[in-house]
């Protein structure tokens, strides 16, 4: 990832292209011309993204395939460093263009306001990927300081840092020590590391999202919720309604539905689901492991539909606690299995890990006992807070100001005592 100021030219280019395209889309009635401006905007923006993020990957993949066919040829790699946030602001800007094309919103006349929408700092680097219909109207209003929003924002920031520093970065120590030496670890250790990774990535990304949303809230802006306690999902479909919500809804609105969504034949519907998730996987990184991760989640959804387990709203009252917990557990296992591909360095390591998970018995690797204890404590504290929020337990207590003060002050102290301050980095920076 690169922070060089010159990369501001890239975001400026995306901003100018999409601003101009939207202006033309709104002021042109000719269907052919409108299509031209839309596709020009898409091609240029996705072209830039492809060049920086995917060119080397596709070049290598195509070359490997050609070599397999006996043809030796390869174009030179560019080895460009990925500008920070490019995947996020590109999608945000492209989403705006498409919304204008569809007539869902009017183009933004004020260039400065539109540029602010594309480069709004709390969510520029790692989302949430905002919709113009949500954020632009807020920029048009006169913002006055809102005490309640500021308090909520502050609380979100503290909770976000807790998730990131106390949970995610702590778990990363164990996960890295196992996954980076997978060939030396047995089933128990690899399973545990995978479970830890599930919480690590949730807290890393969810934590960042909370900090971003909290920052925006203090300034008076409401960004969309990006994570809603995803491991409480009782189906894979529900998981994707709770996980990286801004991205999954983006793919639903701009990929899945244009492909036909579910308003086509069953086979085509399943194919649309699968394709959408494969592309979503690819968005996460230029590696076949991400493609497989996305495809696997797509397959989960396809099989759920094939088996008649639809993503309709589940009436919680109808199911006992045991059944609910069993469903959550089963979904958690499926998701954890897919995380193997997300976390592993490459396909070979993924398969090695899976093989060792099933074949290599032994006792679990503890490593540093202190770190291990902190990992367990961190997950414990996270689950307590998430259960309280999910079940809305003791709203009368949690609404008391004194209790709130003490809770968040204690959270800050816990961050000071248990947070990891050395060498941690947000995983989603790499996107």
């Amino acid at each position: 990832m690169n922070w060089q100021p010159i990369y501001a030219l890239l975001i400026l280019t995306s901003t100018l292209i999409t601003y101009f395209a939207a202006y033309k889309l709104d002021t042109t009635t000719n269907k052919k011309n409108r299509s031209f401006f839309l596709y020009a905007s898409l091609i240029i923006n996705f072209g830039i993204l492809f060049l920086y993020k995917y060119y080397d990957f596709f070049n290598t993949s195509v070359f490997t395939f050609m070599e397999f066919l006996g043809v030796r040829m390869k174009l030179p790699d560019f080895s460009l460093i990925l500008p920070v946030g490019i995947s996020f602001y590109t999608f945000q800007a492209v989403g705006y263009t498409i919304d204008v094309y569809r007539g869902q919103i009017n183009h933004e006349r004020h260039f400065g306001r539109y540029a602010l929408f594309v480069s709004f700092f709390p969510q520029l680097v790692a989302g949430p990927i905002e919709r113009a219909s949500n954020l632009l109207p807020q920029f048009r209003k006169k913002i006055e300081f809102d005490y309640h929003k500021a308090i909520e924002g502050t609380k979100l920031i503290i909770w976000g840092y807790f998730m990131k520093l106390v949970v995610a970065d702590r778990l990363a120590i164990y996960v890295n020590s196992v996954y980076n030496n997978a060939e030396s670890h047995n089933s128990a250790s690899l399973v545990l590391a995978t479970i830890f990774f599930a919480f690590q990535i949730y807290c890393d990304f969810g934590g960042y999202s909370n900090i971003a949303i909290g920052c925006a809230k203090i300034m008076g802006f409401d960004l969309m919720t990006n994570f809603q306690r995803p491991y409480f999902a009782q189906s894979v479909a529900e998981f994707w309604q709770r996980w990286h919500i801004s991205l999954s809804t983006w793919f639903k609105d701009y990929v899945y539905i244009p492909l036909g969504g579910n308003r086509v034949s069953k086979v085509r519907h399943y194919l649309n689901l699968f394709i959408t998730f494969v592309i979503s996987g690819l968005w996460h990184g230029a590696n076949w492991t991400f493609v497989i991760w996305g495809g696997l989640n797509g397959l989960y959804l396809v099989f759920a539909r094939l088996l008649g387990l639809q993503d309709k709203k589940i009436e919680r009252k109808s199911f006992g606690l045991i059944i609910s917990a069993s469903k959550m557990f089963f979904v958690f296992i499926l998701i954890c299995f897919s995380w193997i591909f997300f976390r592993a360095e490459n396909l070979e390591v993924s398969l090695l890990i899976i093989r060792r998970m099933f074949l290599e018995s032994g006792s679990v690797f503890i490593g540093d006992v202190g770190i291990f204890i902190y990992c367990i404590m961190a997950i414990g504290m996270l689950l307590i807070k998430d259960i309280i929020d999910e079940k809305n337990i003791s709203p009368s207590l949690s609404n008391k100001k004194g209790f709130q003060f003490m809770l968040y002050a204690a959270m800050v102290i816990i961050i000071l005592i248990m947070g990891v301050f050395d060498g941690g980095q947000f995983i989603y920076f790499q996107f």
Binding site: F145, Y147, G370, M406, A410, I413, I417, F421
Partner: protein, 313 residues
Amino acid sequence: MKKFIVVIAIGLSIIFVLDLVFGKILEHFYFTQSSGLQYQTTYAMQETEADVLVFGSSRACHQYDPRILEDSLNMTVYNVGREAQFMLYQTALLRAVLKRHTPKFIILDFPDTFYTSEYDYDRLSLLYPYYKKHPEIRNIIDLKSPFEKVKMLSWTYPYNSIITTIAVGNLEFNKTREVNINYAGYLPLHGIFDKPLDSVPAPQTYEFDQNKIDLFKEFIRLTKEKNIPLVVTYSPIYYLYDKDPSMELCRQICIENEIPLLNFTRDTEFLDQRDYFDDATHLNDSGVTIFTKKLAALLKQKGLPKVTTSGTE
């Protein structure tokens, strides 16, 4: 806005009070530990009055037996070596020791290399609990990042990630754990290395960390200022190396400062005996006995320690 500022001020006040209370509690229990590596660091920094101190990383704390050196030198010896702690830590420790005690002789097992490694700076967090009590080491800890001074305003932060260790360090049973059994700071290893002698290619030229070089020079200067004889050693290692830029630079600095440098890394008595090693870079207890005796004999042979009018020899 006013109400928000007031609420934030109240929140910060509560955090300040909690930070102070928890910090003081942790500080108390940190310094009441009676065993473990943190206790050993505290003892080295604040209590030892041994005549001879052995500094260095894990290659010091696992490879120098004070009992053997005491017999030979007729002086009390304490091994203040600490695992995974290199020149930054060694000079900080020396500064703290010299504030209250002047040893009669110092042996420095050359700690690793002078190359740039951010992990060496990360490991300075070991010294956090001493930041407030030892102003002489603060500017070394501050090398870690520009924000250390701000972080150290907290009373709780110095004990980040070590509460479990603090708890265990205060328990009696911890003294009997094998990992904590030590003889005046010497932590014996008992394994036997089973891999063949390996060759390590000459490392490519790498960028030196000027901080480490400066602190090594300061280490030498401090001993000279206090007229403490200093000997630098490269203790035995179970691999063959061609040339190491850091060791070459260390040798040059020792020559410039007239500091004796004793190199055991090419000693065939150790290179021919895999059984003396726990792993490629650490002797086991048997090997330590041989090595420490050999070191003691060599010191005697060279008439070390000897104080001259110029400082050390």
